[in-house]
Every structure is written in C-alpha cells, then in structure tokens.
Assembly symmetry: C3
Homo-oligomer: 453 residues x 3
C-alpha cells in the first residue's frame, strides 16, 4: 500500500506539473486560481523528501523513547543491560534492513540495489539525481531511512517484554533475524504490494499490525518460551510485583514515543507535496494526539475507579495503546472517533495487563497489551472508520491479523527455540538474581545511589 500510494502520488505529481498551464503553457486565458496553487514537480519532490526526513528523525527518536521507557520499568539491577539492548537493537535493525530487509520488504524495488549488493559501489548507491528520481517524487534514500526506523521500532517492542531474563547475545541474534527477515516479510505482503494488499484489501496505514502486532507476537512467543522472571509468580496464583525502578524515565520515554508518533503516523502519508497531502498530514497529527489523550484519560479514570489509585504506569501505557490503536487508520476517522478508538485502547491495557499475569505470561513493560492487543483492535476498527469506497472489510482486516499471527509466531518460535537449544537464552539463576548489569555488562546503572535491587 505504501508503495502504491507513492506511485499514485508520483503519477499525480507528474500529471500535475506537466499539465499545469502555469508552468508549461503560455496561453493567456489558462490557469487562473488553480494554477496559482499548483506545486511544481521539483518543489513537490523536495517537500515529499522533507516529510520522510522529518518523519524519519522523529521515529528514530522513538528508539530513545523505548530505551527510557524500558530502563524506567525494569529493576535497577537490569537497567544498564536494557540500555545496551536498546542502542544495540536500533543499530542492528539499521544494518539488517540495509543488508537484506528492505529488498525483502519491497521486492519491486529490489533491482535498485538498495541493499548490500551494489551498496558498496557508487556515490549515489541509493539514488541518482535525474529523471528517474523525479518520477519517483521523492529521494529514495529518504524513503529508505523512514522505512528503516519502522523496522527498528518492531525490535524495540520485543526488548521490553522479555527484559531482565534474556542474555545479550541470543537477544541480539533474535533481533538480527526479526529485522532482517521476519518483519520485512510481513511488510512485503502489504506495503510491498503483496498478498494482503492485492487480494484482501487489507488496510494498515502506518502499521498497527505490520509494526506493532509483529513486535507484539514476537514478544509474546518470546515470553512463553523464555518463561517468567524468577520469583515473579508464587504458588497459588500469587503475583509478585516487581516495580519499575525509575518512573520519571518511563514518563519521559512515553512522551518521546508520543512525539515520535507524529512522524510515525504523519509521515506515513508519504507525501506533502500537494495541498491535500499536507492537510491530511495535519489531520493525522490531530487524530494521533487525540487518540493518545483518550487512552490516557481512560486509563486514569479506570484505574482510579478500580483500584482507588491513578496508576501512572497504566496512564503511560494508556497513551501508548491509544497511539497504537489509531495507527492503522489515523486519517479517515473524525476527531471524535479517534478519541474513542484511543480510549478503547486505553481500556484494553487496563483490563489485559492483569489478564496476562493470570496466565503467568511475564511482560515486563506491558508491551503485549499495548502493541499486540491494541494493535489488533486498531486494525479491525478500520473496517468502521475507513471511507466506504475504500473496500476495507472486517474480514479482510482479520485475515491480515491472523496471517501476521501465524507467520510471526511460528518464525519467532523457531528462532527462540533454536537459540535456547544452541546457546541457552536465560542467564544462570545467580546472574538473574544478582542482576544482569554486573554479570553481562559490568556497569551498574546507578552505582552512587543506594541498594541496587
């Protein structure tokens, strides 16, 4: 879908600029008001590219958001490890998406040699300044950058769920496969113009399923195979709370993610070289913000009613769930619908976080409710909010959700199980008890401050 839109956009641009009387035609009576509003092809190219760059750096910033969120929600003794995992996974994602990922995700672009083959040669290994590029309507490198940071986001989701009990090396190997193969395959089905896009009319504007559910399934399977943290679940269904070590950091992480999401959803419009496109981007900004706001307020109200306390981590996850929920379709809904969609996302978090604990699925940061459950919700509800003539059906959306579930779960399970068999994924009990920071990283998170528990 993403490429389709791009192609259509490019075609429209070409048509616009070539046929625009103000530019190409000298006839006096042509082109009054309309012509004055026409945007030339070169200008549109620059603005489209700029959208990718701005969106790209905002989504890149989300890597810091995940790092802070997770560093704030793990225990002190595993905080340095979580920091390392996050900067490491972002780096690996970039490398793998270049080596192989992009070419898997966008097979029709593969001949352009964006990846390893060809990547070592030529000054413009990602683009040539010339006619071909202008037909595209944007800089290929800017598009690659924007796509790459999405890939990294997927990996960030996993690291939160399986925190505090996975060794660094197997974790990084899993990330390598996830970002190099598992995620790109899902993308190819839809944004790459494949099966889901062409056969089922599946619609996922910015990735509630493609990015968030993919990360969520990989996280869920990981949590199941790896098992819960030591001492997390006592006998008789008892759940021991391991409180996050730094709530302001988790709050900061959430605000960073919220900010980054304007790029995540907004720049998924993929163009701002026309008046209509930039207006759509603006609408997306508003809807994205309001869905998050709906998620926050809902989570606060529900926890206040249910527990007589307004749990701040629920409020933070409420924001994120609202954001994930609106990601599948942030443009079509009205503002009111967006608030509602986000509010349901927030409610999902409040009700499913305890549910996971019932099944002894240990999700350290609540990433499964936020990214998987709210991601499914957001994907399905598109059947309601999409324009009637868009051809989006509940069934088509469900097929996309299920296909992603099957592929990501099976592929992730194979990788996690292989890693378990070959090298083991969990540290020794003593290491886990003392904390991974000392044993795996050699650097405590807050050595000048008190007891490192």
């Amino acid at each position: 879908m993403k490429t389709d839109i791009l192609k259509m956009g490019a075609a429209a641009l070409a048509a616009l600029s070539l046929s625009s009387p103000a530019f190409a035609a000298p006839v006096a009576e042509a082109a009054p008001a309309v012509a004055a509003d026409a945007v030339g092809g070169g200008t549109a190219y620059i603005l489209n590219t700029l959208l990718f760059l701005i969106g790209g750096f905002l989504v890149m910033w989300m890597a810091a958001g995940f790092a802070m969120l997770e560093a704030g929600l793990v225990r002190t003794k595993n905080t340095s490890t979580q920091c390392l995992k996050n900067i490491g996974l972002y780096s690996i994602a970039g490398l793998m998406f270049w080596v192989i990922g992009y070419n898997i995700a966008y097979p029709s672009f593969a001949e352009d040699s964006l990846g390893l083959i060809g990547g070592f040669t030529g000054i413009y290994s990602m683009q040539g300044v010339g006619e071909a590029d202008l037909d595209t309507g944007y800089s290929v490198a800017s598009d690659w950058f924007f796509q790459m940071v999405f890939c990294a986001t997927t990996a960030s989701i996993v690291s939160g769920t399986v925190a505090e009990r996975v060794k660094i090396v197997p974790f990084f190997i899993f990330v390598t496969v996830l970002t190099g193969v598992i995620y790109p395959v899902v993308v190819s089905w839809e944004w790459g113009g494949g099966y889901l896009d062409s056969v089922h009319g599946f619609s996922d504007f910015a990735g509630s399923t493609l990015v968030h559910s993919t990360g969520g399934w990989a996280a869920l399977v990981g949590a199941l195979i790896i098992g819960p943290r030591l001492g997390r679940y006592g006998p008789g269904g008892q759940v021991n709370v391991f409180p996050g070590s730094n709530i302001p950091l988790a709050t900061l992480g959430t605000f960073i993610l919220w900010l980054g999401w304007f790029g995540f959803n907004g720049a998924s419009q993929l163009a701002m070289g026309t008046v209509g496109d930039v207006s759509d981007v603006s609408k997306i900004f508003v809807n994205t913000n309001m869905a998050a706001a709906g998620g926050v307020v809902t989570a606060i109200i529900l926890t206040q009613l249910r527990y007589k306390k307004a749990d701040v981590t629920m409020a933070l996850n409420g924001a994120l769930a609202g954001l994930v929920s609106i990601t599948a379709e942030p443009l079509a809904p009205t503002v009111g619908q967006s608030i509602l969609i986000g509010a349901v996302g927030g409610a999902i978090v409040v009700f499913t976080v305890p549910l996971l604990d019932k099944f002894k699925i240990d999700d350290v940061v609540g990433a499964i409710p936020v990214h998987l459950f709210a991601g499914i919700w957001g994907t399905l509800i598109v059947a309601w909010t999409a324009a009637p003539d868009a051809g989006v059906t509940f069934l088509g959306q469900l097929v996309g959700v299920l296909l992603t579930m099957v592929w990501v779960s099976v592929a992730s399970a194979i990788v996690w199980l292989a890693l378990k068999a070959i090298m083991g994924v969990r540290p020794d009990e003593e290491v886990e008890t003392t904390g991974l920071d000392i044993h795996e990283i050699g650097v405590e998170a807050y050595p000048g401050l008190a007891n490192q528990s």
Copy 2:
C-alpha cells in the same frame, strides 16, 4: 492578533499568487527577478502548514519538558504523582480545547465546527480540501494543533507551583476548567480579535501574557488558596528548603523547554510561505535563543555574587525567565535588546524567588517568578521594542496585563474555592507527609533506590 495576521497573510498570499505574472500571465515583458522569487499559493499553503506542524510538535514536546522539570524539582516521594499530573493535564488540555476551548478562543471560526459539534461527523471535520482552505493559506487542522499545545502549556505552569500538596482529582478538574474556559477566554480577547486587540492595540506575539501570565495567575491564586506544603515555613519567618530530588531531570526539562520554545515563538509567526516570513522566523529563533542565554548568564553571575554559589536551579529558571520575557515580542528587538530583555528576566527570578517565600507563598518550581513576573516584564517592554508605527503603548500593554490578572485570578479563585468546599484539594496530613506517590498513585518513583524522602 493571531487571526488577524493570518487573514492578512492569506490575503497577501492570494494577491501575490493571483497577480504574479510568472504564474498567471503570459505576457513576455512581465515578471523579471521578482517573479522568480514569487512563491505560489499552493506552495505557500504547504509551507505555512508545515510551520504549524513543526512548531506544534516542538511545543507538544514542551509538555515533556515541564514534566521533567517538575519531576526533578519535587521531592522523591511525590515524583510519580507529578509525572501522572503532567501526562494527564496534557491529555485533558487537548480534549477540552477540542470540545469547547478553540471555539471560545476564536469565535469567528466557530461556525467551522472545529469542536464537538460537527466533530463527530465527516472525514474532514477540521478541513475540506478546496478553495476555502486555500484562501485560509494553511491547513485548519495544523492551526488547531498548534493552538492546542499552547493551551496545554498554560496548564503545565500551574502544576509546578501547586505540586506536592494537591490531590489528583481536584487538580485535574481545575485543569479541565482552565483549558476549556479560562485560558480560551483570554485568548479570545487578543488572538481571537477581541477587546484587547481591537481597542487597546495590545500586543503579545506568542503569549507572555496570554499563555505564561495566565498560567502564572492561576498558579499564584492556587498557591494562596491551597497554602504552603507542610513544614515549609517554620515559626519566625524560617524557610525550610525542600531540595529538588533530581537535578539532571530538571536540567533536561529546561533544555526541552528551550528547544520547544523555538516552535513556540518561531511558529507564532504563523506563516513561512514568503521570503519575508521565513526570515522573520529565523530572526525569532536567534532572539529567542539569545534571551534565554542572557537569562542564564545573569542568573549565574547574580547567584555567584550574592550567595558565592552558582545555583543550578536558578540558572535553569533564568533560562526559562529569559524565554518568557522575549515571548511577547521575539521579532522586533535587535539581538542586543533580546539579550538585555532576557537578562532582566533572569534577574527577576533571582530576586523574586526569595521574595515569594517572604510572603509564605510556596511555589515548588519557581513558576510564578518565571511565568508570571517575567511574563509581565516581557509584555510591558514591548512598548519599547515594537516598531513605532505598530501602535503599541505602555498603557495598552498594562491594560492587557491587568485584565488578564483580574479575569484569571477571579475565575481561578472561584474554581479552587469550589473544589475546596466540595471535595477538598489537599490530601490528609499523613498522606502529604508520607508522599502522594504511595497513597494517590500506588507507584513509587525510584523504588530500587534508597530512602524515598
């Protein structure tokens, strides 16, 4: 004023694009150098909208800045509460500004149904792509987004002053009224083209009075009605220092605010679709930065001279005071004037922070000196820096300051007093002593680290 400028800008754009020979006219002898520089109406629309979007996400990011600043300046035992209040107030502000606030602030736009009525229907509840929008010169949704984050800023100011001693529920109710009614009414007088704008020639470019003083008055009245924190003022005028719990976080928050202020002031130019506008935005960036720098250096020098110590929290507040001071007019002053205006702001902070304590007004983060006192200073000094033909007078500025004082103080007092009577605004003494985090939130800020005092 803001709408006026927009309307004028739109008119200018329309004139420019329609009359520009390069676009509409085929006459050979027309349009030499000037025509080459003309920016088409469509391109200008995109660029104006982009300014709102970039400015908007930068100001949205200020919500994180306030959260970190306040989380760093309260005591450990109230840190989680402060985080919740900040993400909650930002969410409430967005919802309320949509439900009712915008329509109060900009009555002339009310028929466009930006708020609740109409908001639930139609894909483009905030805009239609067509002629009307092009006349506006920017996407309505982008403007709404930019205005909304200003509204949220106002609420952030209050949360800092009254921290550590207000229960969550009354605080959120106050925020609801502030962002839905109190602040929008002030905006309507000036940016909405009302009394202050039309009668007094009041000038407040980006909101020293409209945003910062409004927040400041609400905070001051709150501090007076709620009273100081337990144990803050001893007998005989003794002031007990409650040091902030996390100085790096407070520093981070200040840097975030500084960054966000480029959007706050820069995008208040409201257009960058002409060479002149984008040059003005650039000038605003420079002046904004230099006023902050002036505030920092002044605060460092003054505290070094006065206390033989360079108090870092004074330096941080010096930056913010410098920023608030330049906000009423960041374009007209020279760089030298900007530094001076910011430096006076920094001095105001150093001298008035102890003054508040003399009157036993307990302002946890120093928001009253920063946002109210420096805001008044910045508003009045516009009479000096504004262009002579702009018609800005000291008296007109003073009227704006006083009118805002009366309205915001009275309205805030009514709300605070009503909340006090109905549900009480302060927690029990035991709760306040133990900390709000445990009782109201149920989540400690740094549970892995030492004594939570």
Copy 3:
C-alpha cells in the same frame, strides 16, 4: 568551504530561477519536463532557510545530549555542577559567537555587522528583506543560528573531559575564549574560505576536525594541565574506576546526540532548495545513521570478545565515535563505506580509552577518543571516499589536522595556564573529595536518594 558552497548555491539558484522559462518566459515551446521541476528562487530561499532552522534546533538539542551524557558519566557528587556547566557553556557560546565569533569565522561577512557592532540597532540587525538576501539564497539569521550551535558543540566536548575537578569560574572563562576566539579562528581557515580551504584543498564537510578535533585538542590540553581527578591513578600504574552515576541518562544523552547529528551533518549540506540538494541531505541522513550503527556494533563485539562483557558506555561512545568519523564527509561515501568508517571509529574508542589511562590522562567521559581520535580518523579517510575530482589529498587533510592541533593546543594551553596562575583551576582537595555540588553549586543532584558519592 561552507560559504563557498553557499555562494555557489546562491549563484546556481539565481541562474536557475532567472533563466527558467517556466517562470519568466511566455514562449510556448519552452520548458517541458525540466521546467516543471524547477524550483523558484523564493521557494528555494525558504527551503534553504528551513534546513538551517531544522538543522539548527537539532544541533541545539545536542547541548542537552552532552549535558545528559556527562551528568550520567560523572559521579553523583559532581552531577549538579556538570548540569550547570553545560547550560552555562551553551549560553556563553551563543553570546560570544554573536559578540565576536562569527565575524572572526567569516571575515567576508563581517561588514554585514552580524556581531556586536550594529547588533544593537535596527530591527533586522541580521538581515534585510530584499534583493541582497535573495541573492544569498537563505536567511542570514538562520545561517547564524546554525553556525552558533556548532560553536556550542565545541565547548560541550571540553566540559566532559575535564569534569569533576575544575572550578566553575575558570571553566566558564575558558569557554568564553574558546567560543569567542579559538574555535572561530579554525573555522575561518576552512569554512570561512581561508588558508586551509584555498591552499590545501582541505575538506571537512561538517566538522570532524573543525568542531570535534578542536574540542578534543582543547580537552586534551586541559586534561594535561589540570591533571587527573584525586585518587584516579594509584601507585604502580593502578587505575581506579570511577563509574558513571547514571547510565540511563548517559544513554539518553547518546540518543539525543545521535538525533541531533542528523541536523549537524544533514544541514551542513547548506541547501535543500533543489532536488539534488535534498537528495544529498537524505543520503547524509542514511550514512550518518549507518556509521553510528557500525560504531555501536563494533564496540559491543570488541568489548564482548575482549572483556566477556558488553560494556554499555563503550557502546555509547562507539555510536558517538562512528558519528564523529563520518562527519568530515557524510555525503560521498557509499553506505557500505559509511558503516566501515563508523566501525573503525568504534574500534578506536575501545582501544584508546585504556591507552589514555596508561598515560594518566584522565578523560572522564571518553571525549578525547570520541571527538579527537575519531575526528582525525574521519578527516584523513576523506582522501579515500571523496570524489576523485574533488582534489582532496591525504596530505592536505593531514595539514588541516596538524594546523588545528598546533593552534588549538597552544592557544588552549595559554588560556588554561593563565587561569591556573591567576585564579587556580582546581578546587581545594576537600572540595573535590566532598564533591563540587555542595561547595560550588549548593545543590545536590539526588538529595532524596542514598549516599552521594
């Protein structure tokens, strides 16, 4: 070089817009596809300026990155001091670059009175809206803003190395001279069109040498003259590790710097008003990101192999070293080359951090390996990656490196030695042992949390 590029760009723009048939000429047969892509001079001016503004606020944000990185890597007892130093140095850099720095750096622009003289008069002390500006192709104020934040970066580098043992006042005085004179002189040789640029064909796209090595030499000389922290080096070559006090903050700082670097390198293209320029900016984004990724992965692998632990601070510095390495030429290399260049940067950090300790050079945050050593590496390797016809030679690059070394080292030594003689640069032993926060700042960093060591 920077001004040269600008001048050429402006000339090209002028040529483009004036000669473009679509804009100025009414002849029917003129201007088919090419004309449609032409970007008018006014639009290009706006887009060039916008690049400076976006790049500028991203680099400004790096000041927060350095603050967090350094606050996280010093000991708890000196954290508040480090915060103050960082916000102070950013402010001083802005003031000094305005008072005198810019005019030294860009002597050919000096008559435009960007600095003190003239700065106090006139509304547009930095620009006039008119023909002259359009010839420039961008707003002068936006360029000044972008250049100023580079100046601040140089000072940030120094503060990390000499942390925990320099009094505030002499530190700020050093920063004053560094940002007002020492750094601008280096810039004048190259970006100001001086000796290195005109005689040696020296090439330093975004400042591996001009910014990072300049900061690095000043830091190295500072570390040598000031000496190591008390107790850092024991008898018999023993190195006592003083672990950083807050690893998540250091991680956050690194992510901030990584984000800011897109502005640092990307906006050093100095223009995005043409299709080619914005494509180049995109390529720079990709290469910058991939060099950092290469640095991270290399540092993780090397520390894992060498120490059986994946040292997170090495990974963070690996990212930064990768970024510094690619800064001298982020456009010409292929993606593969960029990864390689960054990877070598990461390796340099892993191997030279212990080396410095051998020579008892106490570099608190590892700024000398990151900014100086990787900066030299990045500068020299341009001879390999630059286009063959660019005239870049290994020898020319070496001359630039050496000249910078001599000037910055000698000038810095004079200033540090003078400060030492006049007022002393180190605090009393008791102060250093107890921590600078209590004595110099009067504000502890984390008073609510445990032992402040």
